[in-house]
Symmetry: C2
Subunit: 344 residues, 2 copies
């Protein structure tokens, strides 16, 4: 395989050769046009335009020590139903990065250590200028590892479990407020036995959503008994958890995810709890395509706004050493829905 076999892109040299002028002349037309004879300048400028010449990104990267690329790990969605919100985030981030002259470089990884290793390799070779972390967990090891390696980053997710709430730049959505809005809406519909279906304690995201529900049902009888945790974020686990809540007397359910809600809505139907208004007495989380399709009420995360905020903090992070500033907590919205006819 020789260089000539490769599809070629226009360079200063190919344009110079085509016109029989020097590379320096072509470069001058681009960078210092005043010193080139007008006739030559016009001829060269026309050839540059015709060839669709773009300055070399690699040359610019060497000069500026910037790749204009952001490293992002793409997770494989475990059940793929709630994964839709992360896909929206990646799409929005790619959009917003592009708008600001950056692009996303994707990586995949086995685990957090592998992710940090790969980000380090990319950063040290100058392939990325910074990283965006997602899915921050309780006592997540990645922020400190990236900081130690000198890699600027922004997290979509709070520094859960850390004493300093602004340990690193972050953007997040107020999940507790979302679950509270869901529970309050079910109260307004007249329910007084509103359950919560979530995950075992210890996950920042899950605990936050449970706390929001607990705030909104305070004062209702038996509310403490109406919280059930399931291990998997999967509809079948949601169905089991919902059955348990119904046994304990719940007539409405706030779910920590749409995956759980998908299983729960089936149990509510089987138990005859859907009601005549065709509004399922449950609220999911993430406003996924499945929730929209079936007509399940859900909490919508402002993912596009989150991507914009992440990019703002990202540009701060690569511009000024160590400046992080406070995190940004965005507000979700409740989307109430009537069940689709085919789902009743």
């Amino acid at each position: 395989m020789s260089g000539q076999d490769r599809p070629s892109r226009p360079t200063l040299v190919t344009i110079a050769n085509e016109l029989g002028v020097s590379r320096q002349t072509v470069s001058n037309v681009l960078n210092n046009p005043g010193i080139v004879h007008p006739a030559t300048r016009e001829r060269v400028a026309a050839a540059i335009k015709r060839a669709g010449y773009r300055p070399s990104a690699a040359g610019r990267a060497l000069r500026t020590q910037r790749s204009m690329a952001i490293g992002l790990r793409l997770y494989r969605a475990v059940d793929g139903i709630n994964g839709a919100v992360m896909d929206r985030f990646v799409h929005s981030l790619a959009d917003e990065a592009q708008r600001r002259g950056y692009h996303l470089t994707l990586l995949t990884a086995e685990d957090a250590d592998d992710e940090v290793r790969k980000l380090e390799t990319l950063f040290r070779s100058g392939s990325i200028d910074l990283a965006v972390l997602t899915d921050t967990g309780m006592d997540d090891p990645r922020p400190d590892q990236l900081a130690e390696a000198g890699i600027p980053f922004v997290a979509f997710g709070r520094p859960w479990g850390r004493p300093d709430p602004d340990a690193h730049p972050w953007v997040d959505v107020d999940g507790g407020a979302g679950s509270a809005a869901g529970a309050s809406w079910l109260r307004e519909l007249g329910h007084t036995a509103i359950g919560f279906l979530g995950w075992p304690e210890g996950s920042g995201v899950g605990d936050d959503r449970r706390a929001g529900w607990a705030r909104a049902v305070a004062g209702l009888p038996a509310s403490a008994e109406l919280s059930v945790a399931v291990l998997d974020d999967h509809p079948s686990a949601g169905a089991e958890g919902a059955a348990e809540l119904i046994t304990r007397g719940a007539t409405a359910i706030v779910c920590a995810s749409d995956s759980l809600a998908l299983g729960a809505v089936g149990r509510l139907r089987i138990a005859g709890l859907l009601g005549d208004d065709h509004i399922a007495p449950l609220v999911g989380f993430d406003d996924t395509p499945v929730a929209r399709a079936l007509g399940m009420s859900s909490v919508h995360q402002p993912v596009e706004a989150a991507a914009v905020a992440v990019l703002e903090l990202a540009i701060d992070a690569v511009s000024a050493n160590g400046s992080s500033g406070p995190g940004r907590l965005l507000q979700p919205t409740l989307v109430p829905r009537q069940l689709a006819a085919f789902a009743r």
Copy 2:
């Protein structure tokens, strides 16, 4: 903002300065270690390792005229249920690219023209070596535009509607075979009125799936009347189409997508057609998380194998000018399932 404010990555110069040797000595240790005094060599090698030095990707890109990046447009999933298969593909492609020393550079675009324009800009600045197209449509304009611009590419999707079946390098999945397998399975279950629920004629993918169903139901009475097309790939459209098919006498349905199947399964339940064995008499397409969660039978695309094949063709495309070779048609598999208890 000055250069010193930026987080720094180790370079030959920073290592040379740290040790008080010349940049050339550090370079020699990396590229021509035999000419360096052993003691110096060891000292420099240790510093290189300690600093986590990686050769500059931009420097390598300038030398080799290769960015080792693949441009890929990320689509926003319209309904997000079938979008899951494209997410699996993007993840697999990122995985496989990484394994081969490439990475994916994401772009988003308004339409096909915008996609080609952005790929051209990236290619001409040397930011990507090639492109991967997805979702090829009937008479898709992008392949010719990319070929004209001299941009190597591989399509995940056939050259639908073109006289030359190998007009460009492509990888695809045999959708017709998938729908045929679904219809044959429903015949084996004893059904003789098996409908097809798809989209209006003119989409390569949809026509291919309909043709597969037609082959497998040949000889059954009234099969021609049991094909219904709906405009949207959405569960509510699927529910409407399924209602029409049931009215026409269908007792089982092959669907062109899981989005349509999700609406159809609700209609089959309402019509009392689910049967006592809890196997919904329908087959979706793409084996999405929703199909797995509800227990809907579906056609599974070998997306990981497709990503491997795309990378093989991609490396061919950037290595040898104009070599494309025949496309690769991969076989899908039918995944029969019993409905989850909560979905019956």
